[in-house]
């Protein structure tokens, strides 16, 4: 997880304090796990230590102290490099879904009912994502983040379809 770089990205348009960084992150990725406050502050401290961000204000405005952070030149360059670099396609991550199916087959149980339930669960999730998208039609970045989740769910669904076909065929030939 490139939380550090995302925090740099959230500071790109101007200095902000930790609370704004957290809120900004959660608005950018409405379907992801919210960023924990603790993580925001540890990340900001680490970025400050590495000279990627700097404290620009410690105003309290009558309330508790709020440290405002801004990007350093080095931080800006680091962010630009991160944004330009393609990611390594991930391989070998075995999902819990796959583990369940493989374990079901090895234990001699029928996996088709599980596969059908999992299919429905994935389709429902796509529906939920869409329902959320129509609320904010012009919010292109949020929609793109949701589309990303939807096409990955679609890839899972294709795997589920293939698994369902294979297991059904296997059952039919053994009959």
């Amino acid at each position: 997880m490139a939380t550090a770089e995302l925090v740099l990205g959230l500071l790109h348009n101007g200095p902000a304090h930790g609370y704004d960084v957290k809120r900004g992150h959660d608005a950018w990725f409405p379907d992801s796990r919210p960023l924990a406050f603790g993580q925001v502050y540890t990340t900001l401290s680490r970025l400050e230590r590495d000279n990627l961000v700097e404290v620009v204000d410690r105003g309290s405005e009558g309330g508790p102290e709020r440290t405002v952070y801004g990007l350093t030149e080095q931080g800006r360059a680091h962010l630009a490099d991160w944004l330009a670099e393609p990611i390594q396609p991930a391989l070998g991550a075995v999902d819990e879904m796959v583990r369940k199916v493989v374990a079901t087959i090895h234990t001699g149980e029928d996996a088709t009912a599980f596969l059908a339930r999992q299919r429905a669960s994935h389709l429902r999730r796509i529906r939920e994502l869409r329902a959320a998208s129509t609320d904010s039609d012009d919010d292109t970045p949020a929609r793109l983040a949701r589309d990303f989740v939807a096409v990955h769910l679609d890839a899972d669904l294709r795997w589920l379809d293939g698994a369902l076909d294979r297991i059904t065929e296997l059952k039919e030939t053994r009959r």
């Binding site: 059908a116 299919r119 429905a120 429902r124 796509i126 379809d161 059904t168």
Partner: protein, 226 residues
């Protein structure tokens, strides 16, 4: 009478050598969106064609808007199909020599509506689906997406109880497909119709309230999605 938009009971259909449907039953409530999915060759399109009265099953019954298709004369069945069932196919299947407005007015003219009234209703639907400006163009002058929008207008112009769509986004890219599905759902919802959607695309199936998955001409499973 039944309050279902569509009811199939143990429908069987075989082409010359291949059995396509092996006793499929399906109920669709008014306003419901049902996706028929499954691998290619599983009988999805045959099911849709039997349900829409385009193919006559060799066994079992099809009730469309409360009427058993087998009990009706050819003329009455055609009329019921024309007024109660809208059909949207993969490539729109508009009449190539007719303008969009005449294509959409056609089902009404065949029902004996006067020409001016039919054209007025057609124009309203073309406006609703966003191709009102292209009303006087022929299908060959327009994109697949524009033709598909007109096909949706044609399917809904008679105020059918149910719309059948066979791979309605199959000829469109992903963004146009998404817009097409949103339009189809809004139009069907707007007209109070049910929708039976045949698709191999999971992202399209996810628009449905219920998924019925076929395999080898039989229902493999059925799940509620809403």
């Amino acid at each position: 009478m039944t309050d279902l938009a569509l009811e199939l009971l143990r429908v069987e259909y075989a082409y010359r050598r291949d059995v396509a449907l092996r006793g499929v039953s399906l109920k669709v409530r008014p306003g419901e969106v049902v996706a028929i999915t499954g691998p290619s060759g599983c009988g999805k399109s045959t099911l849709l064609h039997c349900a829409a009265g385009i193919l006559r099953p060799q066994a079992g019954t099809v009730q469309l808007a409360g009427q058993n298709l087998a009990d009706l004369s050819e003329a009455v069945r055609t009329r019921l199909r024309r007024t109660q069932a809208g059909v949207v196919l993969q490539f729109g299947q508009l009449v190539p020599d007719l303008t969009l407005i005449d294509n959409v007015a056609l089902p009404l003219l065949l029902e004996g509506h006067d020409r001016a009234g039919a054209r007025r209703a057609a124009m309203e639907w073309l406006d609703r689906v966003g191709v009102g400006e292209d009303a006087t163009a022929v299908p060959g002058e327009l994109s697949g997406g524009q033709n598909q929008r007109a096909a949706v207008a044609r399917a809904l112009v008679t105020g059918p109880a149910i719309v059948f769509a066979d791979e309605p986004t199959g000829s469109l890219d992903s963004l146009a497909g998404e817009q097409m599905m949103e339009l189809l759902l809004a139009s069907v919802h707007n007209g109070g119709a049910a929708l039976v959607l045949v698709t191999h695309d999971n992202l399209v199936a996810a628009y449905a309230d219920r998924e019925v998955r076929l395999r080898d001409g039989a229902v493999q499973h059925e799940v509620a999605l809403s």
